[in-house]
Protein backbone atom coordinates (compact mmCIF):
# COMPACT_ATOMS: atom_id res chain seq x y z
CA UNK A 1 0.00 0.00 0.00
CA UNK A 2 1.42 3.34 -1.04
CA UNK A 3 0.91 6.61 0.83
CA UNK A 4 2.20 9.81 -0.75
CA UNK A 5 2.91 12.70 1.58
CA UNK A 6 2.88 16.09 -0.13
CA UNK A 7 4.35 18.99 1.78
CA UNK A 8 4.22 22.55 0.47
CA UNK A 9 6.55 23.97 3.09
CA UNK A 10 9.29 26.24 1.79
CA UNK A 11 11.97 26.31 4.50
CA UNK A 12 14.44 23.54 5.20
CA UNK A 13 13.52 22.18 7.67
CA UNK A 14 9.93 23.37 7.54
CA UNK A 15 7.25 22.95 10.17
CA UNK A 16 4.96 21.63 7.41
CA UNK A 17 7.51 18.86 6.84
CA UNK A 18 7.53 18.15 10.58
CA UNK A 19 3.75 17.84 10.67
CA UNK A 20 3.78 15.75 7.49
CA UNK A 21 6.30 13.34 9.03
CA UNK A 22 4.26 13.06 12.18
CA UNK A 23 1.13 12.30 10.17
CA UNK A 24 2.83 9.75 7.94
CA UNK A 25 4.37 7.94 10.92
CA UNK A 26 0.95 7.71 12.56
CA UNK A 27 -0.68 6.55 9.31
CA UNK A 28 1.98 3.89 8.85
CA UNK A 29 1.42 2.63 12.42
CA UNK A 30 -2.36 2.54 12.08
CA UNK A 31 -2.24 0.71 8.75
CA UNK A 32 0.44 -1.70 9.95
CA UNK A 33 -1.82 -2.55 12.87
CA UNK A 34 -4.42 -3.58 10.26
CA UNK A 35 -1.84 -5.85 8.64
CA UNK A 36 -0.99 -3.57 5.71
CA UNK A 37 2.53 -3.16 4.38
CA UNK A 38 2.99 0.56 3.89
CA UNK A 39 5.37 2.38 1.57
CA UNK A 40 5.61 6.11 2.16
CA UNK A 41 6.63 8.44 -0.65
CA UNK A 42 7.56 12.00 0.33
CA UNK A 43 7.06 14.88 -2.10
CA UNK A 44 8.31 18.41 -1.45
CA UNK A 45 6.36 20.76 -3.69
CA UNK A 46 9.23 23.26 -3.76
CA UNK A 47 11.44 20.73 -5.58
CA UNK A 48 8.98 20.96 -8.50
CA UNK A 49 8.21 24.69 -8.32
CA UNK A 50 9.75 25.55 -11.70
CA UNK A 51 8.35 22.47 -13.43
CA UNK A 52 4.88 23.27 -12.09
CA UNK A 53 5.09 26.85 -13.37
CA UNK A 54 6.34 25.57 -16.75
CA UNK A 55 3.47 23.12 -16.92
CA UNK A 56 1.00 25.96 -16.36
CA UNK A 57 2.66 28.05 -19.07
CA UNK A 58 3.45 25.41 -21.70
CA UNK A 59 0.62 22.95 -21.08
CA UNK A 60 2.52 19.74 -20.44
CA UNK A 61 4.42 18.23 -17.51
CA UNK A 62 8.21 17.87 -17.89
CA UNK A 63 9.41 14.29 -17.16
CA UNK A 64 10.33 14.67 -13.46
CA UNK A 65 7.03 16.37 -12.69
CA UNK A 66 5.06 13.88 -14.78
CA UNK A 67 6.50 11.00 -12.85
CA UNK A 68 5.83 12.72 -9.48
CA UNK A 69 2.21 13.42 -10.49
CA UNK A 70 1.77 9.83 -11.58
CA UNK A 71 3.07 8.77 -8.16
CA UNK A 72 0.37 10.90 -6.52
CA UNK A 73 -2.50 9.64 -8.66
CA UNK A 74 -1.44 6.01 -8.24
CA UNK A 75 -1.29 6.25 -4.43
CA UNK A 76 -3.74 4.49 -2.14
CA UNK A 77 -3.98 7.55 0.09
CA UNK A 78 -2.50 11.03 0.44
CA UNK A 79 -1.33 13.23 3.28
CA UNK A 80 -1.24 16.87 2.17
CA UNK A 81 0.29 19.54 4.38
CA UNK A 82 0.65 23.23 3.63
CA UNK A 83 1.71 26.39 5.39
CA UNK A 84 -0.97 29.08 5.66
CA UNK A 85 -0.21 31.97 3.32
CA UNK A 86 -2.41 35.08 3.19
CA UNK A 87 -5.38 33.33 4.69
CA UNK A 88 -5.25 30.19 2.56
CA UNK A 89 -3.11 27.26 1.50
CA UNK A 90 0.07 27.96 -0.45
CA UNK A 91 -0.28 29.01 -4.07
CA UNK A 92 2.34 26.47 -5.06
CA UNK A 93 0.20 23.70 -3.57
CA UNK A 94 -2.82 24.94 -5.53
CA UNK A 95 -0.74 25.04 -8.71
CA UNK A 96 0.44 21.48 -8.08
CA UNK A 97 -3.14 20.25 -7.83
CA UNK A 98 -4.11 22.45 -10.79
CA UNK A 99 -1.80 20.50 -13.09
CA UNK A 100 -3.23 17.13 -12.03
CA UNK A 101 -6.14 15.94 -14.16
CA UNK A 102 -9.23 16.97 -12.23
CA UNK A 103 -10.69 13.47 -12.27
CA UNK A 104 -7.51 11.70 -11.19
CA UNK A 105 -8.09 11.98 -7.44
CA UNK A 106 -11.70 10.77 -7.36
CA UNK A 107 -12.26 8.64 -4.26
CA UNK A 108 -8.72 9.20 -2.97
CA UNK A 109 -8.52 9.04 0.87
CA UNK A 110 -6.76 12.20 2.07
CA UNK A 111 -5.61 13.73 5.35
CA UNK A 112 -5.29 17.52 5.32
CA UNK A 113 -2.76 19.31 7.49
CA UNK A 114 -1.58 22.90 7.83
CA UNK A 115 0.89 24.93 9.82
CA UNK A 116 0.79 28.61 10.60
CA UNK A 117 2.20 31.40 12.72
CA UNK A 118 -0.64 31.29 15.21
CA UNK A 119 -3.69 29.20 16.03
CA UNK A 120 -5.91 31.87 14.52
CA UNK A 121 -5.55 30.37 11.02
CA UNK A 122 -6.70 26.87 11.90
CA UNK A 123 -10.10 27.03 10.21
CA UNK A 124 -8.37 27.67 6.88
CA UNK A 125 -8.34 23.88 6.64
CA UNK A 126 -12.14 23.75 6.72
CA UNK A 127 -12.99 26.87 4.74
CA UNK A 128 -10.31 26.84 2.06
CA UNK A 129 -8.49 23.54 1.77
CA UNK A 130 -11.31 21.05 2.28
CA UNK A 131 -13.39 22.54 -0.59
CA UNK A 132 -10.44 22.09 -2.98
CA UNK A 133 -10.38 18.37 -2.29
CA UNK A 134 -14.17 18.17 -2.31
CA UNK A 135 -14.03 19.63 -5.81
CA UNK A 136 -11.55 16.92 -6.81
CA UNK A 137 -13.99 14.36 -5.32
CA UNK A 138 -11.33 13.06 -2.97
CA UNK A 139 -12.48 11.55 0.31
CA UNK A 140 -11.12 13.76 3.08
CA UNK A 141 -11.07 12.37 6.61
CA UNK A 142 -13.18 14.35 9.13
CA UNK A 143 -10.18 15.42 11.23
CA UNK A 144 -7.92 17.97 9.56
CA UNK A 145 -4.79 18.69 11.58
CA UNK A 146 -3.53 22.19 12.25
CA UNK A 147 -0.26 22.84 14.06
CA UNK A 148 0.61 26.27 15.43
CA UNK A 149 4.03 27.07 16.96
CA UNK A 150 2.61 26.50 20.46
CA UNK A 151 1.71 22.92 19.54
CA UNK A 152 5.34 21.92 19.24
CA UNK A 153 5.85 22.73 22.95
CA UNK A 154 2.43 21.96 24.39
CA UNK A 155 1.18 19.22 26.67
CA UNK A 156 3.00 16.75 28.85
CA UNK A 157 4.04 13.13 28.63
CA UNK A 158 0.47 11.96 29.16
CA UNK A 159 -1.46 14.45 27.12
CA UNK A 160 -0.25 16.02 23.85
CA UNK A 161 -3.05 17.77 21.96
CA UNK A 162 -1.28 17.70 18.55
CA UNK A 163 -0.43 14.00 18.87
CA UNK A 164 -4.04 13.31 19.69
CA UNK A 165 -5.30 15.06 16.60
CA UNK A 166 -2.67 13.39 14.44
CA UNK A 167 -3.59 9.99 15.84
CA UNK A 168 -7.31 10.58 15.28
CA UNK A 169 -6.77 11.64 11.65
CA UNK A 170 -4.50 8.65 11.00
CA UNK A 171 -7.06 6.27 12.47
CA UNK A 172 -9.81 7.78 10.32
CA UNK A 173 -7.64 7.34 7.22
CA UNK A 174 -6.78 3.75 8.11
CA UNK A 175 -10.48 2.97 8.56
CA UNK A 176 -11.30 4.60 5.25
CA UNK A 177 -8.55 2.76 3.38
CA UNK A 178 -9.37 -0.51 5.15
CA UNK A 179 -13.05 -0.14 4.28
CA UNK A 180 -12.32 0.10 0.57
CA UNK A 181 -10.64 -3.00 -0.70
CA UNK A 182 -11.87 -2.30 -4.24
CA UNK A 183 -9.56 -0.13 -6.32
CA UNK A 184 -10.66 3.46 -6.86
CA UNK A 185 -12.88 3.94 -9.89
CA UNK A 186 -11.28 6.32 -12.34
CA UNK A 187 -12.59 7.69 -15.60
CA UNK A 188 -11.06 5.86 -18.53
CA UNK A 189 -9.25 8.75 -20.22
CA UNK A 190 -9.00 7.39 -23.74
CA UNK A 191 -12.10 5.54 -24.81
CA UNK A 192 -15.11 6.39 -26.91
CA UNK A 193 -18.53 4.93 -27.46
CA UNK A 194 -18.95 3.56 -30.99
CA UNK A 195 -19.90 6.30 -33.48
CA UNK A 196 -23.47 5.14 -33.98
CA UNK A 197 -24.08 5.27 -30.22
CA UNK A 198 -22.58 8.75 -30.05
CA UNK A 199 -24.99 9.88 -32.77
CA UNK A 200 -27.96 8.07 -31.26
CA UNK A 201 -27.34 9.72 -27.88
CA UNK A 202 -27.67 13.17 -29.45
CA UNK A 203 -30.97 12.21 -31.08
CA UNK A 204 -32.19 10.77 -27.78
CA UNK A 205 -31.24 13.88 -25.81
CA UNK A 206 -33.12 16.00 -28.35
CA UNK A 207 -36.47 14.32 -27.81
Amino acid sequence: MKITVVSAGLGVPSSSRMLADQLSTAVREELSALGETVVVENVEARDYAVDIANNLVAGYAPPALASMLQGITESDALVVVTPVFSGSYSGLLKSLFDVIDNTALQGMPVILGATGGSARHSLMLEHAMRPLFSYLRARVVPTAVYASPQDWGAGNDDEQPLDKRVRRAARELAEMVGATSAPRVRDEPLASLPFEDLLANITRSNR
Binding site: V57, A58, Y60, L199, I202
Partner: protein
Protein backbone atom coordinates in the same frame (compact mmCIF):
# COMPACT_ATOMS: atom_id res chain seq x y z
CA UNK B 1 3.97 11.01 -47.78
CA UNK B 2 2.94 14.64 -47.90
CA UNK B 3 5.16 17.26 -46.32
CA UNK B 4 4.00 20.82 -45.83
CA UNK B 5 3.46 23.74 -43.51
CA UNK B 6 0.57 24.85 -41.35
CA UNK B 7 -0.03 28.23 -39.80
CA UNK B 8 -2.08 29.33 -36.82
CA UNK B 9 -2.19 32.81 -38.41
CA UNK B 10 -1.01 34.68 -35.34
CA UNK B 11 -0.01 38.32 -35.57
CA UNK B 12 2.82 38.56 -33.08
CA UNK B 13 5.35 41.26 -32.30
CA UNK B 14 8.86 40.46 -33.47
CA UNK B 15 10.70 40.44 -30.12
CA UNK B 16 14.03 41.36 -31.76
CA UNK B 17 12.94 44.43 -33.73
CA UNK B 18 9.87 45.28 -31.66
CA UNK B 19 7.82 45.58 -34.87
CA UNK B 20 4.35 44.06 -35.12
CA UNK B 21 3.21 43.21 -38.66
CA UNK B 22 -0.16 44.52 -39.83
CA UNK B 23 -3.01 42.20 -40.73
CA UNK B 24 -2.45 43.17 -44.35
CA UNK B 25 1.24 42.23 -44.18
CA UNK B 26 0.51 38.88 -42.56
CA UNK B 27 -2.22 37.98 -45.05
CA UNK B 28 0.09 38.82 -47.97
CA UNK B 29 2.87 36.91 -46.20
CA UNK B 30 0.64 33.84 -46.11
CA UNK B 31 0.45 33.94 -49.89
CA UNK B 32 4.22 34.39 -50.21
CA UNK B 33 4.84 31.46 -47.87
CA UNK B 34 2.40 29.22 -49.74
CA UNK B 35 4.08 30.06 -53.06
CA UNK B 36 7.45 29.27 -51.52
CA UNK B 37 6.06 25.95 -50.29
CA UNK B 38 5.26 25.09 -53.91
CA UNK B 39 8.58 26.44 -55.19
CA UNK B 40 10.73 24.27 -52.90
CA UNK B 41 8.76 21.12 -53.69
CA UNK B 42 6.68 20.71 -50.53
CA UNK B 43 3.15 19.33 -50.89
CA UNK B 44 0.72 21.11 -48.57
CA UNK B 45 -0.14 24.57 -47.29
CA UNK B 46 -2.68 24.66 -44.47
CA UNK B 47 -4.20 27.62 -42.67
CA UNK B 48 -5.89 27.80 -39.28
CA UNK B 49 -9.26 29.36 -38.56
CA UNK B 50 -9.76 31.89 -35.79
CA UNK B 51 -12.36 34.54 -35.09
CA UNK B 52 -10.50 36.84 -32.75
CA UNK B 53 -7.31 38.90 -32.56
CA UNK B 54 -4.36 38.37 -32.73
CA UNK B 55 -5.21 36.00 -35.61
CA UNK B 56 -6.00 36.98 -39.20
CA UNK B 57 -7.44 33.75 -40.67
CA UNK B 58 -11.19 34.00 -40.19
CA UNK B 59 -11.93 33.19 -43.83
CA UNK B 60 -9.78 30.22 -44.84
CA UNK B 61 -11.40 29.39 -48.19
CA UNK B 62 -10.90 32.98 -49.36
CA UNK B 63 -7.19 32.78 -48.56
CA UNK B 64 -6.85 29.29 -50.02
CA UNK B 65 -8.70 30.17 -53.23
CA UNK B 66 -6.35 33.09 -53.81
CA UNK B 67 -3.37 30.80 -53.23
CA UNK B 68 -4.91 28.14 -55.50
CA UNK B 69 -4.98 30.69 -58.32
CA UNK B 70 -1.24 31.33 -57.93
CA UNK B 71 -0.04 27.76 -57.51
CA UNK B 72 -0.31 24.64 -59.63
CA UNK B 73 0.70 21.68 -57.56
CA UNK B 74 0.39 22.05 -53.78
CA UNK B 75 -2.63 20.87 -51.84
CA UNK B 76 -4.56 23.50 -49.90
CA UNK B 77 -5.73 22.47 -46.48
CA UNK B 78 -6.84 23.83 -43.11
CA UNK B 79 -5.49 23.56 -39.60
CA UNK B 80 -8.20 23.46 -38.49
CA UNK B 81 -11.72 24.13 -39.82
CA UNK B 82 -14.17 24.55 -36.94
CA UNK B 83 -16.75 21.80 -37.28
CA UNK B 84 -18.40 22.95 -34.05
CA UNK B 85 -19.37 26.52 -34.82
CA UNK B 86 -19.48 26.63 -38.64
CA UNK B 87 -22.68 25.65 -40.36
CA UNK B 88 -21.97 22.30 -42.05
CA UNK B 89 -23.91 23.51 -45.09
CA UNK B 90 -21.52 26.42 -45.51
CA UNK B 91 -18.49 24.14 -45.08
CA UNK B 92 -19.90 21.79 -47.72
CA UNK B 93 -20.50 24.66 -50.15
CA UNK B 94 -17.26 26.57 -49.54
CA UNK B 95 -14.93 23.61 -49.81
CA UNK B 96 -16.70 22.07 -52.79
CA UNK B 97 -16.34 25.42 -54.56
CA UNK B 98 -12.67 25.59 -53.62
CA UNK B 99 -12.24 22.04 -54.84
CA UNK B 100 -13.52 23.02 -58.32
CA UNK B 101 -11.37 26.15 -58.47
CA UNK B 102 -8.25 24.25 -57.36
CA UNK B 103 -8.91 21.19 -59.55
CA UNK B 104 -9.16 18.89 -56.57
CA UNK B 105 -6.09 20.14 -54.69
CA UNK B 106 -8.14 20.55 -51.51
CA UNK B 107 -8.67 18.75 -48.27
CA UNK B 108 -9.44 19.87 -44.73
CA UNK B 109 -8.60 19.11 -41.16
CA UNK B 110 -11.57 19.48 -38.85
CA UNK B 111 -11.12 20.71 -35.29
CA UNK B 112 -13.18 22.05 -32.45
CA UNK B 113 -11.50 25.38 -31.79
CA UNK B 114 -9.51 26.53 -28.82
CA UNK B 115 -11.18 29.77 -27.76
CA UNK B 116 -14.14 29.42 -25.41
CA UNK B 117 -15.98 32.59 -26.52
CA UNK B 118 -16.07 31.41 -30.14
CA UNK B 119 -19.00 29.16 -29.19
CA UNK B 120 -21.28 31.91 -27.86
CA UNK B 121 -20.15 34.25 -30.65
CA UNK B 122 -21.64 31.78 -33.09
CA UNK B 123 -24.67 30.98 -30.96
CA UNK B 124 -23.38 27.68 -29.63
CA UNK B 125 -22.53 26.27 -26.23
CA UNK B 126 -19.04 24.98 -25.53
CA UNK B 127 -20.47 22.15 -23.45
CA UNK B 128 -22.04 20.79 -26.65
CA UNK B 129 -18.64 20.71 -28.35
CA UNK B 130 -18.36 16.95 -28.85
CA UNK B 131 -22.03 16.55 -29.81
CA UNK B 132 -21.73 19.43 -32.29
CA UNK B 133 -18.72 17.73 -33.82
CA UNK B 134 -20.56 14.44 -34.23
CA UNK B 135 -23.82 15.85 -35.56
CA UNK B 136 -22.25 18.48 -37.82
CA UNK B 137 -19.80 16.08 -39.38
CA UNK B 138 -22.49 13.48 -39.95
CA UNK B 139 -24.50 16.12 -41.81
CA UNK B 140 -21.45 17.36 -43.75
CA UNK B 141 -20.85 13.81 -45.02
CA UNK B 142 -24.44 13.52 -46.19
CA UNK B 143 -24.31 16.90 -47.94
CA UNK B 144 -21.26 15.82 -49.93
CA UNK B 145 -22.12 12.18 -50.48
CA UNK B 146 -25.87 12.44 -51.25
CA UNK B 147 -27.35 14.61 -53.97
CA UNK B 148 -30.56 15.19 -52.04
CA UNK B 149 -30.54 15.47 -48.28
CA UNK B 150 -33.43 15.21 -45.86
CA UNK B 151 -32.06 15.79 -42.43
CA UNK B 152 -33.11 16.67 -38.93
CA UNK B 153 -30.89 17.12 -35.89
CA UNK B 154 -30.51 18.85 -32.57
CA UNK B 155 -28.44 21.91 -33.37
CA UNK B 156 -29.54 23.11 -36.79
CA UNK B 157 -32.76 23.83 -38.58
CA UNK B 158 -33.96 20.75 -40.54
CA UNK B 159 -33.24 20.34 -44.24
CA UNK B 160 -35.92 19.11 -46.63
CA UNK B 161 -35.03 18.27 -50.20
CA UNK B 162 -31.77 20.13 -49.95
CA UNK B 163 -28.96 19.83 -52.47
CA UNK B 164 -25.62 21.34 -51.56
CA UNK B 165 -24.05 22.99 -54.61
CA UNK B 166 -21.66 22.78 -56.29
CA UNK B 167 -21.49 19.02 -56.07
CA UNK B 168 -17.99 17.77 -55.14
CA UNK B 169 -15.55 17.64 -58.04
CA UNK B 170 -15.91 14.32 -59.95
CA UNK B 171 -18.35 13.21 -57.25
CA UNK B 172 -15.46 12.84 -54.81
CA UNK B 173 -15.69 14.96 -51.67
CA UNK B 174 -12.54 16.58 -50.30
CA UNK B 175 -10.56 14.22 -48.10
CA UNK B 176 -11.19 14.92 -44.43
CA UNK B 177 -8.78 14.68 -41.51
CA UNK B 178 -10.01 14.95 -37.95
CA UNK B 179 -7.69 16.84 -35.63
CA UNK B 180 -7.63 16.28 -31.93
CA UNK B 181 -5.38 16.91 -28.97
CA UNK B 182 -7.25 14.90 -26.37
CA UNK B 183 -10.70 13.78 -27.47
CA UNK B 184 -11.12 10.05 -28.10
CA UNK B 185 -14.55 10.60 -29.74
CA UNK B 186 -12.77 12.45 -32.56
CA UNK B 187 -10.54 9.42 -33.17
CA UNK B 188 -13.71 7.32 -33.25
CA UNK B 189 -15.37 9.59 -35.84
CA UNK B 190 -12.28 9.50 -38.06
CA UNK B 191 -12.10 5.71 -37.81
CA UNK B 192 -15.80 5.18 -38.47
CA UNK B 193 -15.73 7.10 -41.75
CA UNK B 194 -12.31 5.86 -42.80
CA UNK B 195 -11.05 9.46 -42.72
CA UNK B 196 -7.61 10.67 -41.69
CA UNK B 197 -6.56 11.54 -38.14
CA UNK B 198 -4.29 14.50 -37.53
CA UNK B 199 -2.43 14.88 -34.24
CA UNK B 200 -1.18 18.41 -33.74
CA UNK B 201 1.81 16.93 -31.90
CA UNK B 202 3.29 20.31 -31.00
CA UNK B 203 3.24 19.41 -27.33
CA UNK B 204 4.12 16.04 -25.98
CA UNK B 205 4.21 13.77 -23.96
CA UNK B 206 4.35 11.61 -27.05
CA UNK B 207 2.89 8.69 -25.06
CA UNK B 208 -0.40 10.59 -25.02
CA UNK B 209 -0.45 10.93 -28.82
CA UNK B 210 0.64 7.32 -29.18
CA UNK B 211 -2.49 6.30 -27.25
CA UNK B 212 -4.78 8.58 -29.24
CA UNK B 213 -3.36 7.48 -32.60
CA UNK B 214 -3.38 3.87 -31.40
CA UNK B 215 -7.09 4.17 -30.61
CA UNK B 216 -7.77 5.62 -34.08
CA UNK B 217 -5.77 2.88 -35.83
CA UNK B 218 -7.50 0.13 -33.85
CA UNK B 219 -11.00 1.50 -34.61
CA UNK B 220 -10.09 2.09 -38.28
CA UNK B 221 -9.34 -1.61 -38.57
CA UNK B 222 -12.49 -2.45 -36.56
CA UNK B 223 -14.65 -0.69 -39.16
CA UNK B 224 -13.02 -2.64 -41.96
CA UNK B 225 -11.25 0.16 -43.81
CA UNK B 226 -7.97 -1.74 -43.73
CA UNK B 227 -5.43 -2.89 -41.20
CA UNK B 228 -4.42 -0.62 -38.31
CA UNK B 229 -1.17 0.31 -39.99
CA UNK B 230 -3.06 1.38 -43.13
CA UNK B 231 -4.98 4.11 -41.29
CA UNK B 232 -4.24 7.64 -42.51
CA UNK B 233 -2.27 9.60 -39.93
CA UNK B 234 -0.97 13.17 -40.02
CA UNK B 235 1.34 14.89 -37.56
CA UNK B 236 2.43 18.39 -36.71
CA UNK B 237 5.98 19.44 -36.02
CA UNK B 238 8.13 22.50 -35.57
CA UNK B 239 11.66 23.50 -36.51
CA UNK B 240 14.09 26.37 -36.85
CA UNK B 241 17.38 25.64 -38.53
CA UNK B 242 20.68 27.00 -39.72
CA UNK B 243 23.61 25.21 -41.31
CA UNK B 244 25.37 25.47 -37.96
CA UNK B 245 23.36 24.29 -34.98
CA UNK B 246 24.51 27.07 -32.66
CA UNK B 247 23.47 29.78 -35.14
CA UNK B 248 19.94 28.36 -35.19
CA UNK B 249 19.82 28.32 -31.40
CA UNK B 250 21.04 31.89 -31.06
CA UNK B 251 18.74 33.24 -33.72
CA UNK B 252 15.59 31.47 -32.56
CA UNK B 253 15.95 31.90 -28.79
CA UNK B 254 14.36 35.37 -28.48
CA UNK B 255 11.39 34.17 -30.56
CA UNK B 256 11.06 31.05 -28.42
CA UNK B 257 11.42 32.91 -25.14
CA UNK B 258 8.66 35.34 -26.09
CA UNK B 259 6.35 33.02 -28.03
CA UNK B 260 2.69 33.41 -27.05
CA UNK B 261 2.09 29.68 -26.48
CA UNK B 262 5.13 28.62 -24.49
CA UNK B 263 7.28 31.71 -23.95
CA UNK B 264 8.41 32.76 -20.49
CA UNK B 265 8.20 29.12 -19.47
CA UNK B 266 10.49 26.16 -20.14
CA UNK B 267 14.05 26.63 -21.33
CA UNK B 268 14.31 26.13 -25.08
CA UNK B 269 16.74 23.22 -24.60
CA UNK B 270 14.27 21.43 -22.29
CA UNK B 271 11.38 22.12 -24.66
CA UNK B 272 13.39 20.62 -27.52
CA UNK B 273 14.13 17.51 -25.51
CA UNK B 274 10.51 17.13 -24.43
CA UNK B 275 8.53 18.11 -27.56
CA UNK B 276 8.84 17.76 -31.37
CA UNK B 277 10.57 21.16 -31.69
CA UNK B 278 14.00 21.04 -33.32
CA UNK B 279 16.26 24.08 -33.29
CA UNK B 280 19.49 23.11 -34.94
CA UNK B 281 21.12 21.83 -38.10
CA UNK B 282 19.29 20.32 -41.09
CA UNK B 283 20.57 16.92 -40.01
CA UNK B 284 18.97 17.37 -36.58
CA UNK B 285 15.66 18.31 -38.20
CA UNK B 286 15.83 15.16 -40.33
CA UNK B 287 16.60 12.92 -37.38
CA UNK B 288 13.86 14.34 -35.16
CA UNK B 289 11.25 14.12 -37.92
CA UNK B 290 12.14 10.52 -38.69
CA UNK B 291 11.77 9.71 -34.99
CA UNK B 292 8.04 10.52 -35.34
CA UNK B 293 7.70 7.53 -37.66
CA UNK B 294 9.35 5.37 -35.01
CA UNK B 295 6.93 6.61 -32.33
CA UNK B 296 3.67 6.66 -34.27
CA UNK B 297 4.15 4.21 -37.14
CA UNK B 298 4.16 4.93 -40.87
CA UNK B 299 2.14 8.05 -41.56
CA UNK B 300 0.94 10.06 -44.51
CA UNK B 301 1.26 13.76 -43.71
CA UNK B 302 3.83 15.86 -41.91
CA UNK B 303 3.04 19.56 -41.41
CA UNK B 304 5.46 22.02 -39.84
CA UNK B 305 4.66 25.21 -37.97
CA UNK B 306 7.20 27.75 -39.19
CA UNK B 307 5.72 31.27 -39.31
CA UNK B 308 4.59 31.93 -35.76
CA UNK B 309 5.93 33.85 -32.74
CA UNK B 310 6.77 37.00 -34.70
CA UNK B 311 9.29 35.45 -37.11
CA UNK B 312 9.65 37.87 -40.03
CA UNK B 313 8.61 36.76 -43.52
CA UNK B 314 12.17 36.92 -44.85
CA UNK B 315 13.34 34.50 -42.15
CA UNK B 316 10.45 32.13 -42.86
CA UNK B 317 11.21 32.10 -46.58
CA UNK B 318 14.90 31.44 -45.83
CA UNK B 319 13.89 28.57 -43.57
CA UNK B 320 11.88 27.08 -46.41
CA UNK B 321 14.74 27.49 -48.89
CA UNK B 322 17.05 25.65 -46.49
CA UNK B 323 14.42 22.98 -45.94
CA UNK B 324 13.92 22.44 -49.65
CA UNK B 325 17.62 22.16 -50.29
CA UNK B 326 18.88 20.17 -47.32
CA UNK B 327 16.00 18.42 -45.59
CA UNK B 328 13.18 17.61 -48.01
CA UNK B 329 15.08 15.27 -50.35
CA UNK B 330 16.49 13.28 -47.43
CA UNK B 331 13.11 13.02 -45.70
CA UNK B 332 11.39 11.90 -48.90
CA UNK B 333 13.97 9.23 -49.58
CA UNK B 334 13.99 7.90 -46.04
CA UNK B 335 10.19 7.91 -45.57
CA UNK B 336 9.80 6.09 -48.90
CA UNK B 337 12.35 3.51 -47.87
CA UNK B 338 10.65 2.89 -44.54
CA UNK B 339 7.05 2.64 -45.76
CA UNK B 340 5.96 -0.96 -46.43
CA UNK B 341 4.18 -1.53 -49.77
CA UNK B 342 0.77 -2.20 -48.19
CA UNK B 343 0.69 1.14 -46.33
CA UNK B 344 -0.99 3.90 -48.36
CA UNK B 345 1.23 6.77 -49.45
CA UNK B 346 -1.28 9.64 -49.24
CA UNK B 347 -4.89 10.38 -50.20
CA UNK B 348 -5.05 11.72 -53.79
CA UNK B 349 -8.20 13.17 -55.33
CA UNK B 350 -7.89 11.43 -58.68
CA UNK B 351 -7.51 7.95 -57.22
CA UNK B 352 -10.21 8.24 -54.57
CA UNK B 353 -13.64 6.81 -55.29
CA UNK B 354 -16.96 8.43 -54.54
CA UNK B 355 -17.98 6.89 -51.24
CA UNK B 356 -21.55 6.83 -50.00
CA UNK B 357 -22.41 7.27 -46.36
CA UNK B 358 -22.41 3.90 -44.54
CA UNK B 359 -25.91 2.45 -44.90
CA UNK B 360 -26.61 2.28 -41.18
CA UNK B 361 -26.47 6.04 -40.63
Amino acid sequence: MEIGVFTVSDITRNPVTGATPTEHERIKAAVAIAKKVEEIGMDVYATGEHHNPPFYASSPTTILAYIAAQTERIKLSTSTTLITTNDPVKIAEDFATLQHLADGRVDLILGRGNTSPVYPWFGKNQQDSVELTIENYNLLRQLWDNDVVNWQGKFRTPLRNFTSTPRPLDGVAPFVWHGSIRTPQVAEIAAYFGDGFFANNIFWPKEHYQQLIGLYRERYAHYGHGSADQAIVGLGGQFFMAKKSQDAINEFRPFFDNAPVYGHGPRMEDFMAQTPLTVGSPQEVIEKTLSFQEFFGDYQRQLFLIDHAGLPLKTVLNQLDLFGELVLPELRAEFAKRRPAHVPDKPVHTTRKPSPVPASV
